[in-house]
């Protein structure tokens, strides 16, 4: 690969780091802050991707859509729809322990997958949706990639600032109090269920936005483009490795894991075909193993959650 090709590849990787970083931030709101187990991240990602695709793509006979709305409207629509999907699920499951939410979100992801495959009139079925506009898409290839990266970076930065503010606000303190001792927080008059619902909906909206960013980058979407288990799992390992409860940790995790994941793909692609297929599953095995290892040896992640204690004696030091 020459220098230009390498730069292009680096841009491509960085855009995806940004997209996964956004999902890791969303998961950090849910898990890091609220202790909510979302095992259907890919479902919210897919909802966002398809929502934005349908809102912004050109019309095609036999399919609803082709509204050709501006891309920004697609992004807002993606967040709104992901939030709208999260709300009833959260309402039903958040009264109970997070185990039930885990099962229900697995269900959500599977149902969305079924719907995306079979509702031709809405999602184009297995053919998917193509011709999705891309901001700055009319520029030459390299400049267009660079401009899109800037856009993704701006979205991630905005999300980071917002989530960081939430985390440091009274709302964030309340969430952590609920996560660490639900009974005590409830006894202090905090409305546990509503706070959790807010965290769940906010996190899901960020995942939907990530889907929208992905679909406009890719310019097309098919059901095959999203492997639920891999997407969900990558985001989980990003957050846990980076440090749950820490937004910078979430972004760092996204960078590290996505680099390892895509560089290892470069390696396995060079293997002879017979081994290449095995190697694909070996990579999946290794991310599963990585999670076990992090949980065992570094459960707080690379950048642990900051535990600031407010009090007189801390001020002196």
């Amino acid at each position: 690969m020459d220098a230009f090709g390498l730069a292009n590849y680096a841009l491509f990787i960085l855009v995806l780091v940004g997209i996964y970083g956004l999902m890791a931030l969303g998961l950090n709101v849910q898990w890091g802050l609220g202790g909510l187990f979302n095992a259907g991240i890919a479902g919210f990602f897919a909802i966002g991707a398809y929502a934005s695709a349908i809102l912004t793509s050109p019309a095609l006979p036999g399919r609803v859509g082709g509204f050709e709305l501006p891309v920004a409207a697609g992004w807002v629509g993606a967040m709104a729809l992901a939030a709208l999907l999260a709300w009833p699920i959260g309402r039903v499951c958040l009264r109970l322990r997070s185990d039930y939410l885990a099962i229900a979100t697995i269900g959500v992801a599977e149902i969305i997958r079924l719907a995306v495959r079979s509702e031709d009139w809405l999602t184009g079925g297995v053919r998917g949706i193509s011709g999705i506009p891309r901001p700055f898409g009319e520029l030459p290839y390299f400049a267009s990639q660079l401009a899109y990266l800037a856009l993704v970076a701006a979205a991630v930065l905005l999300a980071y600032v917002l989530v960081e503010r939430q985390l440091r606000s009274p709302w964030g303190r309340m969430m952590r109090a609920i996560r660490d001792n639900e009974a005590a927080a409830a006894a202090m008059g905090k409305h546990v269920e509503s706070r959790r619902l807010e965290a769940f909906v906010l996190g899901s909206a960020l995942m939907g936005l990530a889907g929208a960013l992905f679909v406009h980058f890719n310019r097309s979407i098919t059901p095959e483009a999203i492997d639920p288990m891999i997407v969900t799992f990558l985001v989980w390992i990003m957050l846990i490795l980076g440090g749950s409860g820490n937004n910078r940790g979430a972004l760092l995790g996204a960078l590290v894991i996505w680099l390892i994941w895509s560089l290892s793909e470069l390696l396995t692609d060079r293997l002879p075909t017979e081994i290449a297929i095995q190697a694909k599953y070996a990579r999946m095995f290794l991310i599963g193993l990585a999670l076990q290892l992090v949980l065992r040896f570094r459960p707080e992640g690379i950048l642990p959650e900051e535990r600031r204690t407010h009090g007189r004696d801390q001020d002196d030091s």
């Binding site: 885990a102 599977e110 846990i240």
Partner: protein, 291 residues
């Protein structure tokens, strides 16, 4: 639609699927009740069990039904090994971390299956089996009769074990109240190991029965994870009879749903039932636990 069609194309397949779900749901309900977490790797252990039986058939040249006990023994060993290596050290930490670890185990088990056997669906035996007619109007294949028989034997044996033996009572005691059980001298670690042995065996049985009635493929267990959990929660977490009842209800509901829903949404039925149960009766029909 006449009664003949209803019975043979909806009722019997529903009961068949439901009885297989029941075996899966008993495993889920045992882990949920005794170890108190949602074991998300259950579906992929079912897949592994089915493939272990396939291995015994293709490598050992066994008859499929003789491969079943072999697969059950192997799966029990795998389940104990997974617990010792991936769950045991999390026992003192918040339970939700074990749920997360089990999602990782699900991915690992699945990729082992895919590395070992590929992703193409296969079957234990080849050839088309014609159903026989019973009572003049019920069509059943031999393997379907054997499946019903196997499910009844397994459930009866498990119930007998839990009610009549010392270890079975210890398991029930720990399900009711782990601290009290420990105070009364129940060795929790032994009970945990025993639970995983039983759960591994049940996974292999569910996988084998599903595989012999349909196909053996890498995603078969992941696809039944949701119905199996729905069945366990619908019946009441921690209750064996509840899991059987829940399994039958979910299996029937899925097979009957094609009367009103497009067939591709069959597997959405379990999800809808799960949400309704969590909304209106989280303890399930038979009043199980709520975590």
């Amino acid at each position: 639609m006449d009664a003949y069609e209803f019975i043979n194309f909806h009722l019997v397949p529903g009961l068949l699927l439901g009885s297989i779900y029941a075996i899966g749901a008993i495993g889920v309900t045992l882990v949920f009740g005794i170890l108190r977490f949602a074991h998300l790797a259950h579906g992929d252990l079912i897949t592994l069990g089915a493939f272990l039986a396939l291995g015994a058939v293709t490598l050992g040249g066994l008859d499929p039904w003789l491969a079943l006990p072999v697969a059950m023994a192997l799966a029990a060993a795998v389940a104990v090994g997974i617990d010792a290596s991936c769950y045991a050290y999390l026992r003192e930490r918040p339970r939700i971390l074990t749920v997360m670890a089990s999602l990782g185990v699900a991915l690992m088990v699945r990729s082992v299956v895919q590395m070992g056997w590929g992703t193409d669906p296969t079957t234990y035996t080849t050839g088309i089996l014609r159903p026989d007619e019973y009572f003049g109007f019920i069509l059943l294949r031999d393997r379907e009769l054997a499946t019903f028989a196997a499910v009844i034997v397994l459930v009866a044996a498990l119930e007998a074990f839990l009610r009549l033996t010392r270890w079975g009572r210890a398991m029930r005691a720990m399900s009711d109240n782990p601290d009290l059980a420990r105070l009364c001298g129940v060795d929790n670690r032994q009970v945990v190991r025993l639970t995983w042995i039983i759960v591994g065996m049940l996974c292999a049985a569910a996988g084998f029965l599903l595989g012999i009635n349909t196909e053996v493929w890498a995603m078969m267990g992941w696809w039944v994870l949701l119905p199996v959990f729905a069945a366990a929660i619908l019946g009441g977490v921690g209750r064996i009879d509840g899991a059987v009842l829940g399994g039958l209800v979910i299996g029937l509901a899925e097979e009957l749903s094609v009367l009103v829903l497009p067939a591709q949404y069959k597997s959405a039925t379990a999800f809808v039932i799960l949400l309704l149960v969590l909304l209106f009766r989280p303890r399930g029909i038979l009043k199980g636990k709520v975590l």
